[in-house]
Symmetry: C2
Subunit: 215 residues, 2 copies
């Protein structure tokens, strides 16, 4: 029983990186097999042998993209205060979507064009996962007294995710890193501390309202 066979003649991770770049630039539908194989430097059958089909290749590429380009999410969540979490998340996102030498925007948003394909659910699921991690982190911050108790963790998490998603689109519109960072600063103000002595000022800076329905 032979365990061998002809060895692969290309670097599979290098090829995957090229696939990430291609999907990132053009999205799922617009990235054709011809473009993919040319960027990856391999033949069409080699792609199918190594990665399955186009959909599986995209899933592999998305996983690698998340591992390599969204580490700022975990980094942000590890910050000690809610305000720092929000700040690190937004600035990290801006940096990621405006990295020189890489395609503008975010693969998770850029590829969303997939017309009700299976891959679509992966992207929304990724955003939902990050949103849940942010929400849990802000709930913790409230429990610790780090964040105003009147704030809704779910709403704050949604706020950050929505803004970050907007950053990805705006970056592909040509917005610069500095411009997006300035926008991020607008949002940080939402994450004020309880300010026990001057409660009224805190109340002014935030907007207490009906809590969002969560499902």
């Amino acid at each position: 029983m032979g365990s061998g066979g002809r060895p692969r003649t290309f670097d599979i991770e290098g090829a995957l990186d090229a696939a990430v770049d291609t999907f990132w630039r053009h999205g799922y539908e617009a990235a054709g097999l011809a473009e993919l194989t040319e960027a990856m430097g391999i033949s069409r059958p080699a792609l199918y042998r190594a990665f399955g089909d186009k959909d599986q290749l995209f899933r592999s590429a998305l996983t690698r993209y998340i591992d390599q380009n969204m580490t700022y999410v975990s980094d942000a969540l590890a910050r000690p205060t809610a305000r720092e979490v929000a700040h690190a998340f937004l600035t990290g996102n801006v940096a990621a979507v405006t990295t020189p030498g890489r395609p503008a925007g975010c693969l998770s948003v850029q590829a969303m064009v997939t017309d009700e394909a299976e891959a679509f659910s992966l992207l929304a699921e990724n955003r939902r996962t990050i949103q849940e991690r942010l929400r849990d982190r802000f709930a913790e911050a409230i429990a610790e007294g780090d964040l105003d108790a009147e704030q809704d963790p779910d709403r704050l998490a949604r706020f950050l995710i929505t803004l970050a998603t907007g950053f990805a689109i705006r970056a592909t519109d040509g917005e610069t890193r500095e411009e997006l960072l300035a926008v991020a600063d607008c949002a940080i103000a939402t994450f004020s501390k309880p300010e026990p002595r001057d409660a009224e000022a805190t109340r002014h800076g935030t907007v207490p309202l009906r809590k969002a329905a969560n499902d």
Copy 2:
């Protein structure tokens, strides 16, 4: 020489509306001729005779979409205070991207997948135009004393556009209108008035308050 010819047998505006819906649901690339012609109820050659080619059809559809579904932008800009402008813009956008019976999201964002096509520039240009109108409006608000003079009109406009763009994506992720409205309320707090002391009625933003002092 005859000026006539066989009359068109379909409603060209109705067909265009169907095209808007199809592009809205699937984006530019994913909306195929077969799907378009079926939705529009006309044959393929009829489409080309009436609208030119696919690209020109999309431009016509985008124009009609803007005319019919983005009136909230002009409405928002006409509000008396900067805070009301911001509030009306964001809530109007949320309503537009979560209208029951219509596709979730925004055609201008959904169709952005067009792989460096000419149509792409139209979409970014549309966002830039709106951003400029908001910026001018906020500059005016500062001049009138309606908005804190330390605010940057350009940054505020960018902030709203970015958030609205994010709303469009998040709506297609399945976020509900209420959830997005709650997020919008987060952002309204940024538009504070020059004199923070008398600001008490910042509830859920439904009741915009005019500045008690002069202007």
